[in-house]
């Protein structure tokens, strides 16, 4: 069954003429028609020599292997939901999960890469870090295998799985961003969430809410800002640290300056609460509903429901990001992850069977989403009735549909790259200095751009 899903629509002649087939795949398809006799196969193997390095072959139900899978707890627990079905389909493949927090997973990946051994077969990697590993050449080339999925998955997700025109990972969850807002706060201030068409509207609403309720519109730490909101708002406009050529544009693209100016105006006018993300005061304001909005990705809703504000049933709502210009983009991304196969793995077929089974089947992805709220990027799932169901936590809005719609529209942007972590580290102190009133927007951007050019050797 899994093989049929690999070829488009289970049709053995699909892709026959496109010249993209691997030799093993060709053999397999010939076998379907009874064409591949052993001698022919041996001949082709003999003439072709060894297969291209890093190329992975299509697994079958008799594929054997014993896989090691690295990742972090929540996501691994989600993958485990498919294990019973997977074992039924591939009885010869066993696997061990190694859960560690993301930072520890990366340290261990780097150590394994440097040492040249000790790595996993399959690794869960955040999109923000994926390009660095792909560029290092540490991941297996999956081009022929992920081919059928390129059109089936949110297109922006492929950006950091690629090196040149080759693919080295299989996308999992996207991070579509929207505005989570407290209904009671908006109501008390007399602001209609449906009227948030542009960021100017949002700014005016922030002033009204401050006036009427005394509450801040959003939570943005000054001295310990992490730059995530800034990145999200740049992403929405298809811009970022770098352009499509990889040149630094922080100090060149006027949209970048406008965005930072906008965020800064909230600090200057007292419309932002000075609370560091992921710390107790930040959680508390969300639990108590003393922040009017939280601009974050779909996974934030999961956190609200499960542990930040489990008692706030019906108190939160969701609307898409306001546009910068009326009718402009309202979609952005924050976070997201993928599964990659380590190039040093000796069991790439089995590893691909695992990745494909867990991420490439709508049934798997839907079940994972329903049980764990990890959002799928496989577009076929968005048509499931589950996405049209009202969500009582969000006052019976069809928020899943809202996020699915956003996920399909996320633009390509120059945020995540092989130097993302470094660029963020260099930018963040400049934003902090701005927030503390010690430098201008222009100075912050030109300082950050200069440092990034120096450190990452970019134009």
């Amino acid at each position: 069954m899994s093989q049929d899903e690999l070829t488009t629509d289970g049709n053995p002649i699909a892709g026959w003429f496109n010249g993209q087939l691997s030799r093993r795949e060709l053999m397999r398809r010939m076998a379907v028609f009874g064409l591949a006799v052993p001698s022919v196969a041996a001949l082709i193997e003999a003439c072709g020599g060894s297969t291209a390095t890093g190329q992975v072959h299509v697994p079958s139900s008799s594929t054997k292997g014993s896989l090691t899978i690295w990742g972090w707890k929540d996501s691994l627990e989600a993958l485990k939901l498919q294990d019973a079905d997977f074992t039924a389909a591939y009885p010869g493949i066993s696997y061990t999960y190694v859960p560690r927090p993301p930072a520890d997973t990366y340290r261990n990946l780097e150590l394994a890469i440097t040492a040249g051994s000790g790595g996993p077969d399959v690794a869960l990697i955040e999109d923000s870090h994926l390009t660095a590993y792909v560029q290092l050449g540490a991941m297996a080339d999956l081009t022929d295998l992920v081919g059928p999925y390129v059109d089936q998955i949110d297109s922006y997700k492929w950006d950091w799985t690629k090196k040149g025109s080759r693919y080295f990972a299989m996308p999992w969850d996207p991070g579509p961003v929207a505005v989570f807002y407290r209904r009671d706060v908006f109501q008390q201030a007399g602001v209609d969430p449906a009227s948030m068409a542009t960021w100017d509207d949002f700014h005016q609403a922030a002033q009204t809410i401050k006036e009427k309720t005394g509450l801040a519109m959003w939570q943005q730490s000054k001295a310990r800002n992490d730059g995530r909101l800034f990145e999200t708002l740049l992403w929405q406009q298809g811009t970022g640290y770098v352009d499509s050529k990889g040149h630094v544009i922080l100090d060149k693209d006027p949209k970048v300056a406008t965005t930072l100016e906008y965020i800064n105006s909230f600090w200057q006018e007292g419309l932002a609460a000075d609370q560091e993300a992921w710390t107790n005061p930040w959680y508390k304001a969300q639990t108590d509903g003393t922040t009017a909005t939280v601009v974050d990705a779909v996974w934030m809703g999961t956190f609200f429901k499960s542990w930040i504000a489990p008692k706030a049933n019906g108190k939160w709502g969701v609307f898409p990001l306001p546009a910068w210009k009326r009718g402009g983009s309202q979609a952005s991304n924050d976070g997201g992850s993928a599964l990659a196969i380590f190039d040093s793995s000796q069991q790439k077929e089995a590893a691909w069977a695992y990745v494909q089974f867990h991420l490439g089947r709508p049934a798997s992805q839907l079940q994972i989403y329903e049980k764990t709220d990890i959002f799928p990027s496989l577009k076929a799932t968005y048509k499931d009735p589950f996405f049209q169901e009202p969500d009582p936590y969000f006052g019976d809005e069809t928020v899943r549909n809202t996020f699915a719609h956003i996920a399909e529209l996320i633009p390509k942007a120059g945020i995540y790259s092989k130097d993302y972590a470094q660029m963020n580290t260099l930018l963040v102190p400049e934003i902090q200095k701005l927030a503390l009133g010690q430098q201008s927007v222009q100075a912050a951007l030109s300082n950050a751009a200069g440092l990034i050019r120096d450190k990452t050797h970019r134009a």
């Binding site: 340290r107 780097e110 890469i113 440097t114 660095a132 290092l136 050449g137 540490a138 000054k222 001295a223 310990r224 000075d274 609370q275 710390t279 107790n280 005061p281 508390k284 130097d419 972590a421 470094q422 580290t425 260099l426 963040v428 102190p429 902090q432 200095k433 503390l436 010690q438 440092l451 120096d454 450190k455």
Partner: protein
């Protein structure tokens, strides 16, 4: 050319003969001491593998560009050239110097005072006090760092709650460039005061009590005796403690990494945090190795300069 005298070793007439005999003696000595050498060898083998080899390898690394995977590219002194213009690295050096002046004078003075109190015969339960003062030094720094972060949180920390109770306005402990450095200094004092006190105490015990008793008999107060007699006699020990503090401050890692993550605005970023992030976050092993070498050279120079300065102005000499 001379002929061999009777009785002289037959080998010795050849050029280099002496050396040969020495090599023989050396070999003979090795054999004679084989058992003791065997028993001390584990240390030297481990030292060579885990210390000498990495030190040599990182120098080699500092002349290369390497991301941890694939080939190393020889780039000569390029890493060092880049480092000269690296404002973030020099800022981290400057931070260490600033933080040093914030806490080391205070801590050293407190340690001297505490040590002389603990040394006094009038104090009861000396062992208990000594243990209590030393206790923070053996506490896990990660745990202590997180605790300090909770205590010093601007909105929810008990430090600001206590200040509010005293009608003092809240202090942005970790949210202001200078306060963050002071907070880091407080953590350093908390963790290292006991250690320095123990060093001072050891020094005090070498000072004959007659000297201080004589001063007291001559009418000096306890405070006068401390400043005029104890401190000058303690001088070499203080120099030693300050030298350790210089090295300790420039190699701070866990304390700022846990307490402030180097922020805000890189105000508590330290050289070792930079070396760490260049290695493990940016995967620039060669550049980080160059950083380590420059950092090491600077610490050596600063320490030697301090020794020179102190020995030159030593009143006892």
């Amino acid at each position: 050319m001379r002929t061999a005298m009777p009785g002289e070793a037959a080998l010795d007439w050849r050029p280099g003969g002496r050396r040969l005999i020495r090599a023989d003696a050396w070999r003979h000595g090795l054999w004679r001491h084989r058992w003791p050498l065997l028993f001390v060898s584990p240390f030297f083998i481990l030292f060579a593998v885990f210390n000498i080899y990495p030190i040599g390898f990182s120098f080699w690394l500092s002349l290369n560009d390497w991301s941890g995977l694939g080939s190393m590219d020889w780039i000569g002194l390029d890493n060092y050239r880049e480092l000269i213009h690296d404002s973030i690295f020099w800022n981290s050096m400057a931070n260490s110097a600033i933080i040093f002046f914030i806490y080391v004078p205070v801590m050293t003075f407190m340690a001297a005072v505490l040590a002389s109190i603990l040394n006094g015969a009038f104090l009861k339960l000396q062992g208990l006090w000594r243990a209590l003062i030393f206790l923070p030094n053996i506490t896990s720094m990660v745990a202590a760092g997180y605790t300090f972060r909770l205590i010093l949180d601007r909105d929810s920390g008990i430090a600001n709650h206590a200040l509010a109770w005293l009608h003092v306005s809240p202090v942005p402990w970790l949210d202001d460039i200078w306060w963050a450095r002071i907070s880091l200094g407080l953590l350093m004092i908390w963790a290292w005061l006991g250690y320095n006190t123990v060093i001072m105490l050891a020094g005090l015990q070498t000072i004959p009590s007659e000297v201080i008793e004589a001063a007291r008999v001559d009418g000096a107060t306890r405070v006068q005796a401390f400043f005029r007699i104890t401190l000058p006699l303690l001088r070499p020990v203080i120099v030693f403690a300050v030298t350790l503090s210089i090295i300790g401050t420039f190699s701070m890692f866990t304390e700022p990494y846990v307490l402030t993550r180097g922020g805000p605005v890189n105000a508590t970023d330290t050289p070792v945090q930079e070396i760490f992030s260049n290695t493990f976050e940016d995967l620039r092993f060669g550049y980080a190795a160059a950083m380590s070498y420059v950092y090491f050279a600077i610490i050596v120079v600063v320490t030697l300069a301090q020794f020179w300065f102190v020995s030159r102005s030593d009143p006892v000499k």
